[in-house]
């Protein structure tokens, strides 16, 4: 094979890779990873739980509490239409039902249950890296803020 033929072969193999790559990039979100955290906010002390470092900007921008402590955090992989339950110590039970992935957003139903009654039942659409907070729930040591996020899992 001369130099031109080598170049031609390489070019043809590269051409082959383009459609293969196009197939690979056609990913669909097969499931969703849901993360639910329970944060206890109060004006007692100045503690900022280091596990909440990635959310510091959110808390500083949105609230004026002086102390934030992560009570519990759970992550679960859920298929579309399935559901995942998260229990919060001393707080409510959170049920998350991912519905679909559309327009780069995860649509999911969130039900917050307390004493066997739904106190919040909502359908939200969260974009990539987006967070939904449900706050205002009374707790003996302050106020509970539930942090809910979801990222699509691609095959």
């Amino acid at each position: 094979m001369n130099r031109s033929q080598h170049a031609l072969t390489a070019m043809c193999l590269a051409t082959l890779c383009v459609p293969v790559g196009a197939f690979a990039s056609d990913e669909t979100a097969t499931a969703v990873e849901v993360r639910v955290g329970a944060v206890l906010a109060s004006n007692t002390g100045n503690e900022f739980d280091h596990r909440l470092a990635s959310m510091r900007r959110q808390f500083d921008n949105l609230f004026s509490y002086t102390s934030y402590r992560l009570v519990k955090e759970q992550r679960k992989r859920v298929s579309w239409g399935g559901n995942a339950g998260f229990d919060v110590p001393g707080g409510p039970y959170v049920l998350v039902i991912p519905r679909e992935y559309k327009n780069e957003r995860v649509f999911m139903k969130i039900v917050v249950i307390e004493n066997s009654k739904p106190i919040v039942d909502t359908l939200v659409a969260l974009r990539h890296q987006g967070t939904f907070l449900v706050g205002g729930h009374r707790h003996p040591d302050g106020v509970l803020i539930l942090t809910i996020g979801a990222e699509p899992v691609r095959r």
Partner: protein
């Protein structure tokens, strides 16, 4: 925050042009102040009326015909498959060196794959007007039912965070 503070901020609040903290303060005030809340409702009614009027106008526009017209002007006429094959063959014929077997096989496979990949993409893409108008790719709350009398919903676009504050406990105050 008092009523007269909120009054001047309501138009900005309704258009989502306040920063997250002031947005939150206005939302919390209006959740508890009947007068300010009724002003919000008036803004909402005006907005709804405006939206309905615009949507009615949009439905009368024939977007499908408009897009196909634009596409005709944008794209040069596509040669037929036979014309493309003929052009390729003429180019191959003019080469001085013989086509190596692996390269010929790769070209054939690539052609078959490309045909199957792009065959379905011939029809013009006509965006749905309603979808274009409503898609902003931000967090949103599509529906909400709650047992609480008072809720506040606010968001911080900087951190892509949406907050639903429920119950009677003022924000920033311990129980």
């Amino acid at each position: 925050m008092r009523c007269h503070d909120v009054d001047s901020l309501l138009p900005l609040f309704f258009d989502g042009e306040l920063d997250a903290r002031r947005m939150r303060d206005v939302a919390l005030h209006t959740a508890r102040c009947a007068d300010c809340e009724s002003e919000i409702r008036e803004f909402e009614a005006i907005q709804e009326h405006l939206k309905a009027t615009v949507e009615a106008e949009i439905t009368e526009v024939d977007f499908a015909a408009m897009w196909s017209g634009i596409e005709r002007r944008l794209q040069p006429p596509r040669p037929t498959l036979w014309q493309r094959l003929q052009a390729h063959w003429e180019r191959f014929e003019s080469w001085e060196f013989p086509l190596p077997l692996p390269a010929a096989a790769a070209v054939a496979v690539a052609a078959v794959l490309s045909f199957f990949l792009f065959a379905g993409a011939k029809s013009p893409i006509v965006p749905d007007a309603a979808l274009v108008a409503s898609t902003d790719y931000a967090n949103s709350v599509e529906r909400l039912d709650t047992a609480f009398d008072s809720v506040a919903l606010f968001s911080d676009p900087d951190t892509q965070t949406t907050v639903l504050w429920v119950g009677d406990m003022p924000l920033g105050v311990d129980p």
